[in-house]
């Protein structure tokens, strides 16, 4: 972004890139970013909390797998504008509309990836743990979950990145974070506002993705020692395909 003296008058000229805009409306940008991050984080966390038991249910009872996967996929095909619109009568115009919509979208990706990760745990490993006297809960937490973590995080990354992007549409009900700035910039034909908010949005998505990648590396130190890179990349690609 050009700053300082070069920025003077760019607001009047309505330039795409404008340092003056950043200076004079900095607080507005910070507020929007905070709202954006808050909505995204809450949505993904709630999505994870709901998706995990759903994936466990789908794995435990084969009869439940079809309906669970089918329902979450159907939810995914409902366009976001329609989803938010359908939820307004339930919650009124509030942030809850946006969060609920985003949670429903994240479920498709999360449930599929968690399920794929759990199903990919080798049967020998499970048998060995059972032979060592592990109960079902301990087996899940100490053996299956760590092994499913790469697929789980792959899903979490996809869900987070698309949630960051989709939060902008929350601007229809006034809770879109940076999307609010994009919408108001569009109404006022204010180019700098639109471009700055859009770029910030993409930056948030990239940063969130990198952050999750880092968290995964910290949580799964063993993947770095065995089959460097290759195995992890393959697993990621497989999980991404499961989302299709």
């Amino acid at each position: 972004m050009s700053g300082g003296a070069a920025g003077a008058g760019c607001l009047a000229r309505n330039d795409w890139i404008c340092g003056e805009y950043l200076r004079t409306r900095g607080q507005e940008l910070v507020d929007a970013t905070v709202q954006h991050l808050g909505i995204t984080a809450v949505s993904v966390l709630i999505g994870l909390l709901i998706a995990f038991p759903l994936a466990l249910v789908a794995r435990r009872w084969r009869a439940a797998a079809g309906p669970v996967l089918g329902l979450t996929t159907v939810l995914y095909t409902v366009p976001s504008l329609a989803m938010f619109a359908l939820l307004t009568p339930v919650f009124g115009v509030s942030a809850a509309v946006v969060v609920t919509g985003l949670v429903l979208y994240s479920l498709t990706i999360l449930v599929r990836n968690i399920l794929a990760g759990l199903q990919a745990v080798p049967a020998e490993v499970r048998e060995a743990a059972r032979g060592m006297g592990y109960g079902p809960a301990r087996l899940l937490c100490e053996v299956e979950l760590p092994l499913a973590l790469p697929a789980l995080v792959a899903g979490l990354r996809i869900a987070t990145v698309s949630t960051v992007a989709m939060t902008t549409i929350g601007s229809v009900v006034g809770y879109g974070g940076l999307g609010n700035l994009i919408a108001s910039g569009m109404e006022g034909f204010f180019k700098a506002e639109v471009l700055t908010a859009s770029v910030l949005c993409v930056l948030l998505a990239v940063l969130a993705d990198l952050l999750l990648m880092g968290v995964q590396r910290l949580l799964t130190p063993w993947t770095r020692t065995q089959a460097r890179g290759r195995g992890r990349a393959g697993r990621g690609a497989r999980a991404a395909k499961a989302v299709g």
């Binding site: 095909t77 409902v78 366009p79 504008l81 307004t88 999307g179 180019k191 471009l195 859009s198 993409v202």
Partner: protein
């Protein structure tokens, strides 16, 4: 519950279906826009993906394109294009934005489908003396068909859903009914519009699932294999 009865009333009022702002007109706009963008995206993405897949090159590009596409908010791109010089040219901002979003899933899936075609079968066909184009048309594309169709399906659903957003940036389509409802604080109309869009998205998905089964070049053979196994 008031909203649902209200939406039902809105949907069953004939006046809401007729005219420039009526459902039929908006639906036609929506389908025209989605259809056009889908055809354009296929014309761009499929030849590139099939060619790259045939050569076995450009895998990183094909896969990463899809991930990058997810991170960019459609709404932002639509608004940016609307404010750019392109914005004065009617539907073009919406068309360009939709094509940009439909290309990645098409390209990635078609490429992966081509790469995952059973290498032994491809080698065998080559050994039988098939030329490059023959190999592509008679072996690789039929084997890649399921994934190509998966890509087409997600691209189509995405385009139909995203065409709704065109309304936020002043374009036409069914989304207009929702945004107009928001504008007038008319919850009944908002819900009615949302129901229409959701039903359209689900219908398109269903039609594509059927088309996928019906058009499968290996339809007879896949069934034969399944019964042979059973």
């Amino acid at each position: 519950m008031g909203a649902i009865t209200g939406a039902w009333q809105w949907l069953t009022t004939a006046a809401n279906w007729a005219g420039e702002k009526g459902v039929w007109h908006r639906l036609a706009e929506h389908l025209w826009l989605s259809g056009l963008c889908l055809v354009l995206s296929c014309l761009i993405a499929l030849p590139v993906a099939l060619w790259l897949g045939h050569l076995g090159k450009g895998g990183a590009l094909a896969v990463n394109l899809s991930n990058v596409g997810r991170a960019v908010p459609t709404f932002a791109v639509l608004v940016l294009l609307t404010l750019s010089p392109l914005g004065t040219r009617g539907d073009w901002p919406a068309i360009v934005a939709l094509v940009l979003f439909a290309v990645p899933p098409l390209l990635t899936n078609a490429y992966l489908g081509m790469r995952e075609a059973d290498r032994d079968v491809v080698e065998a066909a080559r050994g039988m003396g098939m030329s490059g184009p023959q190999l592509l048309l008679r072996v690789e594309i039929p084997l890649a068909y399921p994934l190509i169709m998966t890509g087409l399906r997600s691209a189509t659903v995405q385009v139909v859903a995203t065409a709704t957003l065109a309304a936020l940036a002043g374009g036409g389509g069914l989304g207009r009914i929702i945004t107009a409802g928001f504008g007038n604080y008319d919850t009944a109309q908002v819900v009615a519009g949302a129901v229409l869009v959701a039903v359209l998205a689900l219908t398109v998905e269903g039609v594509l699932v059927l088309a996928e089964r019906f058009l499968d070049p290996m339809r007879g053979r896949r069934r034969a294999v399944r019964t042979a196994r059973a």
